[in-house]
């Protein structure tokens, strides 16, 4: 177990939405939980996010959007991850996501939607339980 490397997470803000408090708090919180976290900064296109995920070979991509553009942007990221052979990446998201959009997002391949009020501990626990074990084995 000790040989495992830390879980690597990319927290990304797709689109033009500038509300980054949640993304930053989750990024800093997951760092406290011992994960290696990269924060994308604002205004990332799905292409740029996927490129960063591939380059950094992350285990998890966390997407945040509060502007209502999540349906298009989140599914684009998931699709492009698959196209780039990163289909096994755990993709989670948060922001202002209306309840009615959640089934559609999960169908596209988003593993979980964490709305306002979620504790970072809960997100960290979900990540630990769901990230692919094989990818973390030390070599």
């Amino acid at each position: 177990m000790e040989s495992k490397r830390p879980i690597k997470v990319l927290i990304a803000k797709p689109g033009l939405d500038g509300h980054d408090r949640g993304a930053k708090v989750v990024a800093l919180g997951l760092r406290d939980e011992g994960m290696e976290v990269i924060y994308s900064g604002l205004r990332q296109t799905p292409e740029k996010i996927v490129q960063a995920a591939v380059q950094e070979d992350v285990d998890v991509v966390g997407l945040s959007c509060l502007s209502g553009a999540h349906k298009y942007l989140f599914s684009e990221v998931v699709c492009q991850l698959k196209e780039h052979g990163k289909g096994d990446t755990l993709v989670i998201c948060g922001g202002i996501i209306p309840e009615k959009d959640i089934p559609m997002l999960k169908e596209t391949g988003i593993s979980e939607v964490f709305g306002p009020g979620t504790s970072v501990k809960k997100i960290a626990q979900f990540i630990r339980e769901n990230v692919k074990e094989s990818s973390l084995a030390g070599d």
Partner: protein, 577 residues
């Protein structure tokens, strides 16, 4: 023995004889309660610290009367609608959709100008046909690509509601001068003198780098744009407010109360300095500064003290640092005062947000603002408030004003040992932070080196840690969540005047219209205007607004103008966390 010494002695006695036995009885080391006495406001001087409402240092209030109570006293209750002025923030899908929305509301009795929300592509200087902005067109506000879009929106404002009879609000920052130019071009086209226009562009670019995030250019060229606006507006559009400085956004991004006050004041001072450096007399433009609703927590007394401290601090800055003589220069003018902020609302048991917003409205009333119940309770559920939530918010405001009579007395907490000491404490902490920013070379340097951004992220992170440890309690979120609690859900039954299905195809309609405009305009003229813009932008002393007006009339798009400026000014690169 002086009075204070007597109190000190009595306090010691009380602590020993009364408090100590109580603590022992409950096996407590320290009292969970505080009690304030004159000892906490030593040296308190009413005239110096508080003064009269509408008089220096404005701690008690910005005006001698509360403007919205005047309206109600005159017997025209419905026009007390000013209470929810901010709730009119609107902009849906395409300009056609937004025009129709306003027309519909006018049928229902809406008077007054629009408070326009722009979509994110517009706010960030992109056109609707840019592939980068797919999925964002017409969301969170109306899409505006060209002057044509302004012409369409304002078809709803003619005749009795023409541009010289209404006031418009534009939530726009980085491309604010282009939007101002669209408004000016529209007035010119309608034969209305620019001097008659009333409006408030948000035009507060510096907070965009630390909260909200709709920046385009780096801070220094962005300040050149600000200079253009303060000079142009003061000269040609004197009834238009120069800026609406956003303390609210900074708090929502995670800043503490003290950081919020210090950062907002630092930003405000930078804008004032900009006007003075451009050769303007402080009293000619400072009265046209406004603020965008300081506030943002559930702690009622602290929010009241915050408002009082902010008013006093801004007045001191204007008088002592900038030598203002006109009292109008020293006022914090804002549409609403204390409120809880949207980040205090919860998606869990959302009707509780009404209770929360009422607490904020009480703080608003007690601190000289309207008892504005904001935001409506369904704020965290998704884009746009339901009409039911807006009705309840408006009614709650009315109940506080007319039934609870909360607005009869101005600054009713003045002289309270607790509130006066809190007011001093918040102000002193903000001055200290302001000194730190000064030592860094001012607010622009503190943005460039990332200090403000890191401080805000740190505060947001600390708050989250406290919530997770249970040091900060939020009902229904990290406490009182057991199985015996009832999940109260809400239904949105009344149809919203903006049909959601329209938003779904807004992007397509807007792109189609833009293509048509690009086909039919004089493209030779467009190219010529754009190359002239480039030359003028390179010349630091040139004011670009007159040229933006020319570009507007030729239907040069917002992005075409911004792209030229991007080439000359560069683009802002955010700092890491």
């Amino acid at each position: 023995m002086s009075d204070l010494e007597k109190i000190k002695e009595k306090k010691k006695l009380w602590e020993e004889k009364v408090l100590k036995p109580a603590l022992e009885r409950f096996k407590l080391e320290k009292s969970p309660n505080k009690f304030y006495t004159p000892l906490d406001v030593e040296g308190f001087d009413f005239l110096k610290n508080v003064g009269f409402p509408g008089a220096y240092p404005f701690t008690a209030g910005t005006y001698p009367l509360l403007p919205y109570t005047v309206v109600a006293t005159k017997g025209s209750l419905p026009s007390a609608k000013g209470l929810v002025r901010a709730a009119g923030y609107s902009g849906y899908g395409t300009p056609e959709d937004t025009r129709d929305y306003y027309k519909e509301y006018q049928k229902r009795g809406l008077r007054g100008g629009p408070n326009l929300a722009f979509d994110l592509p517009t706010q960030c200087g992109f056109d609707s046909d840019n592939p980068m902005v797919r999925g964002e067109v017409g969301k969170v506000g109306v899409a505006v690509d060209t002057f044509k879009d302004f012409e369409i929106i304002y078809e709803a404002y003619q005749g009795e509601l023409d541009l010289d009879k209404i006031a418009s609000n534009f939530t726009i920052n980085a491309p604010a001068n282009i939007i101002i130019a669209f408004y000016a071009a529209l007035a010119e086209k309608r034969g209305i003198s620019l001097s008659k226009l009333r409006a408030t562009p948000q035009n507060d670019i510096l907070k965009e780098y630390i909260a909200r995030g709709t920046y385009i250019f780096p801070p220094r060229p962005a300040m050149r744009m600000f200079r253009d606006s303060v000079v142009f507006l003061t000269k040609y559009m004197p009834k238009v407010n120069v800026t609406s400085i956003g303390g609210y956004h900074i708090r929502e991004a995670g800043a503490t109360r003290e950081q919020d006050l210090a950062f907002s004041m630092a930003i405000g001072m930078e804008y004032l300095k900009c006007g003075v450096d451009a050769g303007l007399d402080i009293d000619d433009f400072a009265p046209k500064f406004t603020f965008n609703a300081f506030g943002g927590s559930m702690e009622l007394f602290k929010e009241v003290a915050f408002q009082r401290a902010a008013r006093r601090m801004w007045a001191k800055i204007l008088k002592e640092k900038f030598g203002a003589k006109n009292f109008r220069s020293m006022l914090i003018r804002q549409p609403l005062a204390a409120h809880v902020g949207c980040s205090s609302t919860t998606v869990q048991r959302p009707l509780n947000n009404l209770t929360r917003a009422v607490v904020g409205a009480i703080a608003g009333a007690l601190s000289g603002g309207p008892p504005n119940v904001y935001p409506p309770y369904d704020e965290p559920l998704g884009l746009g408030w339901s009409l039911e939530a807006r009705q309840l918010a408006e009614d709650a405001s009315r109940i506080l004003q007319f039934e609870a009579k909360l607005t009869e007395v101005i600054d009713p907490l003045a002289g309270s040992y607790y509130v006066e000491s809190l007011t001093d404490e918040i102000e002193n902490a903000a001055w200290k932070e302001l000194e730190k920013i000064d030592a860094m070379g001012g607010v622009i340097s503190a943005i460039e080196n990332g200090y403000l951004q890191r401080e805000i992220a740190r505060s947001a992170h600390e708050r989250q840690q406290k919530i997770e440890k249970g040091e900060i309690l939020i009902v229904g979120v990290n406490c009182f969540t057991g199985e015996s609690e009832l999940e109260v859900t809400v239904n949105r039954m009344v149809p919203h005047p903006y049909d959601e299905t329209k938003r779904e195809e807004a992007e397509e309609r807007q792109i189609k219209k833009l293509a048509e405009i690009k086909r039919s305009r004089d493209s030779r003229l467009v190219n010529q205007l754009l190359s002239e813009l480039k030359e003028k932008a390179k010349n630091e002393s040139e004011n670009l607004i007159p040229h933006f007006i020319e570009c507007a009339k030729a239907y040069v798009t917002l992005q075409e103008m911004c792209d030229v400026l991007r080439e000359v000014f560069g683009e802002y690169e955010p700092v890491g966390i």
